[in-house]
């Protein structure tokens, strides 16, 4: 249950406070990167490769340079002079900024044009003449692993194959033994296809290098401005851009979803151009460039296996992955986790053995993949476990809900050590599924399904009961390029009792300006309305690793609570001084300290803060400010129980989601309205890959759906009306008991939908469907099975 300890006026945790940021967005006053226009600003546009794999034999820039308004055409050879033609990826691989002699995927950057106007830059792109010698690309990751496959990364000395890395977790031998002896074994091959975050705002920047002061201001669409500043300093320190000379500003961001974590070549070229020319340079990618060249996610080929008893006790799981990263591993995972947090794949179930292994491979596709609204590969993990659990239920002919109840980790088993080593903090999985089944009316639906089946109609019910792992993360294991994954809050309360709070994270629509204010309001009793939240400017905000992987509430949210508590300690001292009592005699209620047993002898937080500037005890530091860098002791483990009901049109094969009930458990809730909104959005981003989205390439490496005309983002018509609810199992180690929620629905929805479709077709002998489950795919199966 959500309980509010604060009044509506204060607006602390649990209040569905309307968002503070909305005033500007609904009136067209948001400030996104493309809205920035600086004096003398130039525009950059990019020449891209039509081939997936080719040698560049010549680039002729003459005609482009002759066009009035064109200032420069930058090629890889130009950048090579400054040693800026390659850059490191977050996974310690290397990525071309601009190629010197070879392109590795279709739409790769080949050269950049700088001009006085956007349209002139676009014209000049057409005038740059590039001669290519096309080669046969390697598109299939399995073929890329074969011994005679051409080696793609010949830039890497001594490289003799396309293998990137191998990863494994768990006890292989013990797991194999269980499988050898198990009564029941199920195995399924699944592909989690390459998809795209497709935030409605694309990526872009304005790089503004000031020659006189040797200072760079970089406005960019980044979810992690501080990390970017450090990366810029590390890469360009040798040309004078040391860290104090770099300011990164992340303005309003039109959706990120992990796609705005990596450093794309366009940003680097814009910086180089501004540095060389001495004027601000704007680069905004268009939608097709965005879909074709960056922010791809997933692309894991998974073999999942489960071993169990005849009556439905799970004993072990095994997972084998082939991870297609394109031509370089440009994922954005914590350094020590090449497969991200895939090892959450043991799921919500209590069993002792699991083994997972992965191999990553280079192909001629765009580099990645980003953690698209997902705590680093949790989507892939949840898909695998929730699908294979259903395969097992189907194999032994047991109701998938009952099978889950029989195998859930019990609420009194927490903290629970999973077979792959994670310590789950808390959960109540039985309660969640129970609630979802009640809301959806599970038993009645099963009856309806039986009746429909008898009439030849296709209807299915699918369940997914997932456990997430978010809030990266504890510094002993989690870092990005060596920087530990803590996050921060700095709170300054002004003399009149109003505050400004700054954070190392960066909202891209999550509503931080409201929720962080609510956390501070909860802890200090200052009305949320009077707490201004700021993020995204590295000159003012404290250092932090940014917003992705549902980490903002678990890390910066915790920092906000602890910084507030530091201030409350100070407030107590001041109150004791003002009331002339000892601190032990004071009691706190949101907004004031009062003397125990004499509630009218009280000082409000506003009076106390005023005294901190006007009448503070001798010997005490004046002012009312606190900063905290929060290093989480563990990750948090949100969970959910989702039930999806689908109807399938036999004539067309079209799958219609009739109902979708999502019961989430993200611990204590800061703002129920915002949490619910996050769940709606995430569910729709789960529906998308389940039924519609996939980036498709042909054998020549051409992308077949690289525009919004053919990459099918669901609209309001495809999206159902979502039914949401929650259970509350607080995280025991988090200061406010919160867990993070943004990604649960994206992770939990796809297997629920697939399980529903397979359930609808199970009587025909269907055990698995690959996503996206498009109408033609279903129709084909119906035809094969003679069910039309």
């Amino acid at each position: 249950m959500i309980q509010c300890k604060t009044s509506k006026e204060i607006g602390g945790m649990g209040h569905s406070m309307r968002r503070k940021e909305d005033a500007r967005f609904i009136q067209g006053k948001g400030q996104y990167v493309d809205d920035i226009k600086l004096p003398e600003m130039l525009y950059m546009d990019i020449v891209r490769s039509p081939f997936a794999y080719a040698k560049i034999t010549n680039i002729n820039i003459e005609k482009a340079m002759a066009l009035p308004g064109v200032l420069a055409v930058i090629t890889g050879k130009d950048l090579e002079q400054y040693n800026l033609h390659w850059m490191p990826t977050l996974m310690s691989d290397t990525q071309m900024v601009l190629p010197v002699d070879t392109v590795m995927y279709q739409s790769q950057e080949v050269a950049a044009v700088i001009a006085t106007e956007r349209y002139i830059a676009a014209d000049a792109v057409e005038l740059v003449e590039v001669e290519y010698e096309p080669m046969q690309p390697v598109m299939d990751p399995y073929k890329a692993m074969e011994a005679d496959a051409p080696v793609l990364r010949i830039d890497k000395e001594g490289k003799t194959d396309n293998h990137i890395w191998h990863w494994e977790a768990g006890d292989k031998e013990a797991t194999d033994r269980i499988f050898d002896d198990a009564e029941v074994k199920v195995k399924e091959q699944m592909h989690i296809p390459r998809i795209h975050v497709a935030s409605i705002e694309t990526c872009g920047c304005v790089a503004n290098y000031d020659k006189v002061n040797n200072h760079l201001t970089m406005y960019m669409t980044t979810q992690a401005p501080h990390a970017i500043r450090t990366v810029i300093a590390l890469v360009a320190g040798h040309v004078g851009l040391t860290e104090e000379k770099v300011r990164v500003i992340s303005p309003d961001i039109g959706g990120g979803f992990g796609g705005k974590v990596p450093v794309y070549p366009g940003y680097v070229i814009a910086i180089a151009a501004s540095f060389l020319i001495g004027k601000p340079v704007k680069w905004i990618e268009d939608r097709s460039e965005n879909l074709q060249a960056d922010s791809f996610a997933r692309d894991y080929h998974i073999t999942a296996e489960m071993a169990g008893t005849k009556d439905g006790k799970i004993l072990a799981t095994r997972f084998k992955l082939l991870c297609d990263h394109g031509y370089t591993d440009a994922a954005a995972n914590p350094s020590k986790f090449p497969t991200g947090l895939f090892s959450i794949c043991t799921g919500s179930y209590d069993y002792g053995h699991s083994y997972a292994e992965a191999d990553a491979v280079y192909t001629n596709k765009p580099p990645g993949g980003v953690a698209y609204r997902c705590s680093f590969r949790v989507t892939e993990a949840v898909h695998a476990i929730e699908r294979i659990t259903d395969c097992y239920a189907q194999e032994i002919n047991k109701d998938p809900a009952q099978l889950r109840f029989d195998n859930f980790i019990n609420k009194d088993q927490f903290p629970y050590k999973s077979a792959l080593g994670w310590e789950y903090d808390s959960g109540d999985y039985h309660q969640g599924l129970q609630k979802a089944m009640e809301v959806v009316g599970y038993d009645d639906l099963r009856k309806e399904q039986a009746e429909k089946r008898a009439r030849g109609e296709l209807m299915g019910i699918g369940i997914s009961t997932f456990t997430e792992i978010v809030g990266a993360g504890p510094s002993r294991e989690f870092d990005i390029l060596g920087i530990k994954m803590f996050d921060s809050a700095e709170i300054r309360v002004h003399p009149t009792g109003k505050a400004i709070a700054r954070f190392g994270t960066k909202s891209q629509g999550q509503g931080h300006e409201t929720t962080y204010a609510q956390i501070v309001a909860e802890e200090l009793g200052i009305p949320a309305e009077h707490i201004q939240v700021e993020e995204g400017d590295t000159d003012t905000a404290p250092y932090g690793l940014g917003t992705y992987a549902s980490r903002s509430t678990p890390t910066a949210g915790a920092a906000a609570a602890i910084a507030s508590r530091k201030l409350r300690e100070k407030a107590k001292k001041i109150a004791a001084y003002l009331l002339e009592v000892s601190e032990e005699d004071l009691e706190w209620e949101p907004g004031k300290f009062f003397v125990k047993g004499a509630p009218d002898k009280a000082k409000t937080i506003q009076e106390i803060v005023f005294a901190a500037y006007t009448n503070h005890p001798q010997g005490m530091e004046a002012g009312f400010e606190a900063t905290h860098y929060y290093d989480p002791p563990n990750l948090t483990f949100p969970s959910g129980a989702y039930i999806c009901v689908v109807d399938i049109d036999k004539e067309t094969g079209e799958v219609k989601v009739r109902r979708f009930v999502a019961i989430d458990d993200c611990g204590h809730i800061i703002n129920p309205m915002i949490v619910q909104g996050q769940v709606h959005g995430g569910l729709t981003q789960g529906l998308a890959p389940a039924l519609y989205e996939e980036l498709i390439y042909d054998e020549e490496g051409n992308i077949l759906n690289g525009t919004f005309m053919d990459y099918l983002v669901p609209t309001a018509v495809e999206s159902p009306s979502w039914e949401t609810g929650h259970t509350v199992t607080p995280s025991p180690h988090h200061p406010i008991g919160a867990k993070g929620v943004g990604e649960s629905p994206t992770v939990g929805a796809p297997p629920a939908i697939v399980n529903a479709v397979v359930d609808a077709l199970s009587h025909l002998g269907v055990t698995h469907m690959e996503i996206p489950i498009t109408a033609p795919k279903v129709w084909k199966i119906l035809k094969e099975k003679g069910a039309l």
């Binding site: 309307r18 500007r24 967005f25 959706g255 629509g509 525009t707």
Partner: protein, 160 residues
């Protein structure tokens, strides 16, 4: 060669000279500096650029500025009147119909026409009316509610 155009934008008369190929959205954003109208695609798919032109919601990335000559345009910046939010702006805030806000101006402008044509739409009618507008954040659920919210306001107003 520049083409002279004269338009009324949010009640203000504006004269300018544009390149014959300049898109209306470019003119609105760069020339008039009304940056509430956004660009989300290059294929007329997303609707982030939707404005009201002569009473109709149009995708301003699909109209040449030159062909807008003589027209009366309303953008998101012109929707609030005398400091009072439009019922749709109110509805989006009240029902949490936005997250990142990037699609929001286009959504609201599309909804202006939707309610104009059909002041009391059903859920299905609202969803169909939004077919040309993408949102990646909200899952549309609360956008539908926001428009419904505004439609009730319209009703109150028209029934005095």
């Amino acid at each position: 060669m520049g083409v002279p155009i004269s338009v009324t934008v949010n009640g203000q008369h504006r004269e300018s000279e544009v390149d014959s190929r300049t898109l209306l959205v470019q003119f609105i954003r760069e020339e008039l500096r009304l940056t509430g109208t956004h660009v989300g695609c290059d294929t007329s798919s997303c609707g982030a650029c939707t404005i009201i032109m002569d009473g109709k919601a149009v995708k301003s990335c699909t109209v040449l500025a030159a062909s807008a000559n003589g027209s009366d345009i309303t953008t998101i910046e012109g929707l609030a009147q005398n400091g009072e939010l439009h019922p749709l702006q109110e509805g989006f805030k009240e029902e949490h119909g936005l997250q990142c806000g990037f699609c929001t101006p286009g959504m609201i402008m599309t909804a202006v026409q939707l309610l104009e044509d059909n002041p009391q739409p059903s859920e299905a009618e609202i969803r169909h009316g939004l077919e040309g507008n993408y949102c990646r954040c909200t899952g549309y659920h609360n956008i539908v509610k926001a428009i419904y919210h505004a439609s009730r306001k319209y009703k109150e107003v028209s029934h005095g």
